[in-house]
Amino acid sequence: MLLFGSPIVEWSAIGKVVIAGLVGGCGIVIVFGFLLLGLKFAGVGDPGETHTERSKMTGYTLAALCGIIVIGVIVLGIYAIIQKPS
């Protein structure tokens, strides 16, 4: 749809906002869920249940990996905004 010879909606930019929203919105929620799952495997906040060393190690690894992904996505997004030429 054109107005004054140029599109009234910048679909390309809006499309990227949708992708960023999905990655940041849904992606972070899912990965954070796996972080919590990792902590559950590791027995964090669940002292009543017994956990094997292997389960604890897997849990902590999963939690750490997910934590890095969540923080990495946010830092990368902010870095991209800062680096954009004004």
């Binding site: 107005l3 140029s6 809006i14 906002v17 919105g25 849904c26 929620v29 559950k40 969540v70 004004s86």
Partner: protein, 395 residues
């Protein structure tokens, strides 16, 4: 000399607007975290204030849109350019305080754009306004962003509850409460990035009109960034409890997984839009996120409250525009570049603001009314199951 005096008045008024923006929009960043008890109200607003301050330094794309994309900068260069900016700020401040008084989360961004359009049309005529720029950079992204954020938050909520089933109720709710501290921080940062820039853009427009900076080689001086960052963060710390209550408790009942999903979606959409220079209404985006989070869990949404907010959104640009145009007409009675005219507008704004403040105090809502950190995850689940969508503060 006259120009310098009026410029100082404009900058001070812009800073006052920025303060009301922070004050009005605190809810955007922290409402759901307070509603779920993830953060104590005072802790939430102090954290949000600090991150709003940092966020203001991240980008100037939105400031450029406000300074150059709404009103033709050559109009600002003409005689009376400063009065246009001052009248715009008047319209925005009065509309912001009116909606705050009514506890309606309206858009500070659209208020300033409406004020600018109204004042410019009254002063110069409709040719001064870039309607194409407004539709492309403001209206279209604003409408689409609400739906995008709502859809993303609904999907995020759905995903979060899929995880809740695997994690167990108590552990999941506790975990997402901690997560909400991070997601509230993200929205606060995003709010500072997008909203502080609007006032930077307005001050930049005033500086263009006095020849201190050039529209062709646009930049925002560091002192402008600092002043805007400080004003919005101070406004945020003051805490607009009335709107926090509406956003966190009255649209839908919010649990921590939903709050986390709504905030993550809102923060991402606002930051991505800031990258493209879209002066989004963070209020509308977060409201879309909260509503989407309600839909994602298939729980009741208070559509009457949402409808009230949408009405305010539709009214914001025309209402602020009418006040902005009126303010310009009042200033014009005293002639172009008149110090008296500017002072009269400022005086009228102060009187109206004081009146609205006094009215709001009759049904004041404070931090204590909203503190839910003592609510256990089990109680949170019970309240959500019972469809409790009002807090004691509004009962």
């Amino acid at each position: 000399m006259g120009d310098t005096f009026i410029l100082v008045v404009v900058v001070v008024t812009a800073v006052a607007f920025d303060f009301t923006n922070g004050f009005h929009d605190t809810a955007n960043a922290v409402a759901t975290s307070i509603a779920t008890g993830a953060l104590k109200p005072m802790v939430a607003v102090i954290m949000s204030g600090c991150l709003n301050f940092l966020g203001a330094f991240i980008s100037i794309s939105v400031a450029a849109t406000i300074a150059k994309g709404v009103v033709d900068p050559s109009v600002a260069n003409s005689t009376g350019g400063l009065e246009i900016v001052l009248a715009a700020l008047t319209g925005a401040i009065i509309w912001n305080l009116t909606t705050w008084c009514l506890s309606i989360p309206s858009s500070s961004s659209h208020a300033i754009i409406g004020g600018l359009v109204g004042a410019a049309v009254a002063a110069v005529g409709s040719h001064a306004v870039s309607f194409h720029g407004i539709i492309q950079k403001v209206v279209a992204p604003a409408v689409l962003a609400v739906f995008i954020c709502g859809a993303v938050a609904a999907l995020g909520t759905f995903a979060a509850y899929a995880m809740v089933r695997r994690l167990g109720d108590r552990q999941a709710r506790t975990g997402y409460r901690y997560g909400q501290i991070g997601s509230a921080a993200l929205v606060s940062l995003a709010h500072g990035t997008n909203d502080a820039q609007k006032t930077m853009g307005i001050i930049a427009l005033a500086l263009i009109s006095t020849g201190h900076i050039s529209a062709a080689h646009f930049y925002v001086p560091l002192w402008v960034k600092f002043v805007c960052a400080a004003a919005i963060s101070l406004g945020t710390v003051t805490g607009g409890w009335r709107i926090i209550n509406t956003m966190g408790n009255r649209i839908t009942s919010i649990e921590s997984p939903q709050g986390f999903a709504a905030e993550a979606a809102s923060g991402s959409v606002i930051l991505a839009s800031s990258y493209y220079g879209y002066p989004l209404s963070t209020t509308q985006v977060v409201s879309g996120g909260v509503t989407g989070a309600g839909i994602g869990k298939r729980q009741p949404v208070h559509w009457s409250v949402f409808g009230q907010m949408v009405s305010a959104w539709i009214l914001t640009i025309p209402a602020a525009g009418i006040v902005g145009a009126g303010a310009w007409e009042i200033a014009d009675i005293f002639g172009k570049n008149s110090k008296v005219g500017c002072l009269v507008i400022v005086a009228i704004t102060i009187v109206i603001a004081a009146g609205l403040w006094a009215i709001a105090q009759r049904s004041a809502i404070g931090a204590k009314d909203l503190d839910r950190t003592n609510v256990t995850p089990e109680e949170e689940a019970q309240q959500a199951a019972g469809g409790d969508v009002t807090s004691p503060a509004v009962a």
